[in-house]
Amino acid sequence: MSTTTLPQRGKEAAGTATQAPEATPPGGVRGLLARPAFMGFLVVVVALVVGAVAADSGTWPKALTFDVKGPLDDVSNWLTDNRAKSPLFLYFLLHISNWSEGGVDYVFTFLNSLGWLGVTALATAVSWYVAGAGLRMRSLRIALLTLCTFAAFGVLGLWDYAMATLALMVLAVAVSAVIGVLLGLVAGLSDRGERVLRPVFDTMQVMPAFAYLLPLVLIFGIGSPAALVSTVIYAAPPMARLTALGLRGADAAALEASRSLGAGAWQRLWTARLPLARREMLLGLNQTIMMALSMVVMASVIGSGGLGDKIYQALSKDNVGMALVAGVCIVLIAIWLDRVTAAAGDQLEAPAAPARVGGDTGAVSLEKAIGWLAWGAFVAFGALGALFGPIGERSWPIDWTTTVSAPLTEGIESFTGAISDGVPVLGGTDVWAAHFTSWVLNPMREAMQAAPWWGVLLLVAVIAWMVGSWRAGLTSILSLSVIGVLGLWHKSMDTLSQVIVSVLCTLVVGVLIGIVAARSRWVMRLIRPVLDVMQTMPQFVYLVPVVALVGVGRPAAILAAVVYALPAVIRITAQGLRSVDPAAMEASRSLGGTAWQQLRQVQLPLARPSLMLACNQGVVLVLAIVVIGGLVGGGALGYDVVYGLQKSDLGVGLSAGVAIVCLGLMLDRLTQSAGSTGKRGGTK
């Protein structure tokens, strides 16, 4: 979800789906040899192999590192000592902290005071209303979905946890949306604003959220303020981005018409600009909500509580059943929120037929009356429930819950135990994971760690230069150098090896499925709902099933990363192949090309920008999960971040975080060809 859907959907909204294909270089090996860049690439690879054999260790030289641990510990100490003294805290940060704490508490108390029935009724009514109210199928279905979601919280015995998550969500989404709209207005209305904000948004998009949790913890301490602030930082950019996109993409003729009628600047903004951007803004809200959910769940690592905490604890206790139950609740919230905002979007696109045209006014007013009656019934029921009887309990009645987690854990354990190593001939998941580790991951890691550091730098520079521009090369080299200087070369190569393996797996599987989906309508129809659900799920949730399957360790992190990045890659590939100019396809068919020839000679070359984008997205998404994999035994940089968080060790945690961001920047630049730069932004 999150970062994936943003550029992809944003692109759709901007309508820049088709892009003139760049001149493709002459194909074949001879063509490749003719390119100086490729020759350079070959030379570097040879040098790298020779260097790796010659030198026994390729790690970054000690002399070139800079010890950041000392200064960072100083900062950390200063922060701890001055939290109650420094004016920075007293007049600024403490206010934010108190305000967030108070806000979250307030919302939680409010939800609590409504009682379980009141909350369910309110959520159902609001969803029903947002989806267009009335008795239409659409709104009724949404209402039913809401009802089931909230009932599930109760039945699964996680009502209080769900409310804690929701309370944080409500506040985080509200704050993110407001900040996002304001920033979006700045970037959308002022060119200078856009020049300043655009790179910030771009960087935010490739930055794994995990990396910046630690500084926030040091400033705000463990608890809901840190969780809220990190969520807002993570979730506000899509809103800002899409608001700016909508404002800039507005129909120029309509704006001019408004001006020609004598509208002032404010009138123009209110009556034309903002309404014209409403579709993008709603899309932005949808993404903000989904990203906020993702982050609220992940922020359990820094004490946000709620469902995420349940997963976090269950994972650390190896209680798969509990984690799965909490995961199901989170997925339900995700689906519910996604569907409700999507329904609101549909409502904007195809509003209910106007009610004023004579004739059917009777039916319409009847529908309205029923609608109000339903509202009234909800409210009355909620109020009554709050006052009397078992339904008046604040929390979901204990008699109505089922304890599925214990039997579930048993069931899952017997199942995973059966397939872990008991499968004859094929082996089993654990066996596969072990083989994968020793045959693929370990050699890869050793090779990368053994390769001389200057060779890696050179290789990265040449690749970036080949794919994009010299600027991309420069950024990549600088990022890598920072990693080296921080003294994290060894660990970063470990993380990088995991990322590369995951990306390769993702791309192979994703592009294949994408091709099949693009060619067969039937397959597409089959996998689309699956992709929809997968793209709305928070990152954290992906860890649960993989741990159940392959146990903790690097394979789990990699499997989670692959599964997480797959939907985006499949989507972009299929979409790219499908949007290939039908005339070119027809020409190829009329010349008697076979399906394979069409694919190889027309579709794939023309869809190259999309494939590049898929690659880029795959890399960014995979990195985000591989890093979180530190929680389930992925080791390397991710583990450092987790360690830093748990021990509040700024020296270890922050430098690892910086290294992760650098890796992200480098990988992003390496896979971001000149062509796809414009695509990601959408506004160009």
Partner: protein, 378 residues
């Protein structure tokens, strides 16, 4: 805007209106320039560059002169057409009239009021009440119903909801969209959308309607419908209109007078007949070559002096009868016809004269004649 202020503004409008009707043109444009580019304001005053062609100007100064030294008057009640190919600066010119694009140099008066020196509020009043525009791409707000789109101008003025809806409904009916008031623009055809645009412009009851290539995006048949709609509106209301188009036949159909633009300059300004019969240069001649001349030129231009015997014989025609109609009369009667003005025979048309109009042979002769040249030099 407060209600009283608005009332005074409308009263002012009325005064200015009556005033303008008596004394002068609605728009009076003199030496108007619009230059795009770095240090654009230096171009119009610099005698060294004002004479250069577009390409030379761009090379020398980096600027593009979209409108160069344009002067004309728009009279009350007329349809003034500005026509030219794309890039000739006509759309820029019409936007300069309400300063949607700020002119670089020159003077511009609206009913005798200096528009260039108008402050923000005065300019806003001008746009809100006195001149409204119809756009090529409609510029409708997709999230509003047709009725609310039409009422948009009134909403900007601050008219109360009930009143503006009522007036909007009137306008919707006026442009022939009864019953579609609750639709969204997206649910309408192109022609219907432009009717909404027209109704929106009419709703504020402006003195002048500005049309910026309003029908270019429409199918030929619909375009014809819409042109007839405009002609009908003009006949019923007599509103002053400035109409931008790149379509010559549209210009000839609608225009009382036509200003033909090329590279930002007005190359010829005159009635359709003058332009067709008496092109100012080769560019214009080339432009009007395929025009069916008999549909545009009147017998006044085709006639010759009557000989003594012809003074009293033959059917009588009014001087502004089109040649096409005269051909019919001459063919029916089989003899030459008299052109009669105020009971006096001022000339005669026979088959030879009419055929020479159709064949395009009359221009050379006109050049020798004193009278038409004088008209063409307007």
């Amino acid at each position: 805007m407060s209600e009283t202020a608005e009332a005074t503004a409308t009263a002012d409008n009325k005064n200015a209106d009556e005033h303008g009707a008596q004394t002068g043109p609605v728009f009076s444009v003199r030496n108007l320039w619009k230059v795009f580019g770095p240090k654009a304001d230096r171009v119009p005053g610099d005698p060294g560059v004002t004479g250069l062609s577009q390409a030379e100007l761009r090379e020398k100064t980096g600027c593009t002169a979209a409108v160069r030294d344009v002067s004309f008057d728009v009279h009350k009640g007329e349809v003034f057409v500005v026509m030219g190919l794309s890039g000739s600066g006509k759309s820029t010119l019409v936007r300069c009239l309400t300063r949607l694009i700020e002119p670089t140099a020159g003077t511009l008066e609206f009913n005798g009021e200096d528009v260039i020196s108008m402050g923000k509020d005065a300019l806003r009043r001008l746009r809100r009440h006195r001149a409204s525009m119809v756009f090529q791409n409609f510029g409708l707000l997709p999230h509003r119903s047709v009725l609310d789109n039409v009422a948009y101008g009134l909403e900007i003025q601050g008219v109360a909801k009930a009143e503006r809806r009522e007036r909007a409904a009137e306008m919707v009916a006026k442009v022939g969209l009864e019953g579609l008031g609750d639709r969204r623009p997206g649910q309408l055809s192109g022609g219907q959308q432009q009717r909404v645009g027209l109704a929106r412009a009419l709703a504020v009851d402006p003195e002048v309607l500005l049309f910026d290539e309003p029908f270019s995006a429409l199918d030929p048949l619909i375009r014809r419908d819409m042109q007839e709609e405009v002609i009908r509106l003009h006949r019923e209301e007599g509103r002053t209109m400035v109409f931008i188009t790149h379509d010559l036949s549209e210009a000839l159909r609608l225009g009382d007078r036509i200003a033909l633009m090329r590279d930002g300059e007005v190359v010829q300004l005159g009635t359709p007949e003058e332009i067709v019969a008496n092109p100012a240069d080769d560019y214009v001649r080339d432009f009007v070559r395929d025009v069916p001349r008999e549909q545009v030129i009147s017998v006044r231009r085709a006639m010759r002096k009557a000989e003594a015997t012809e003074q009293e014989t033959g059917a009588a025609l009014a001087p502004d009868t089109l040649v096409a109609d005269a051909i019919e009369t001459v063919a029916r009667s089989g003899e030459s016809c008299r052109v009669v003005e105020n009971g006096r025979t001022i000339g005669v048309v026979d088959d030879a004269r009419l055929l020479s109009v159709v064949a395009g042979l009359d221009t050379a002769q006109d050049d020798g004649d004193g009278e038409p040249k004088e008209v063409a030099a307007v």
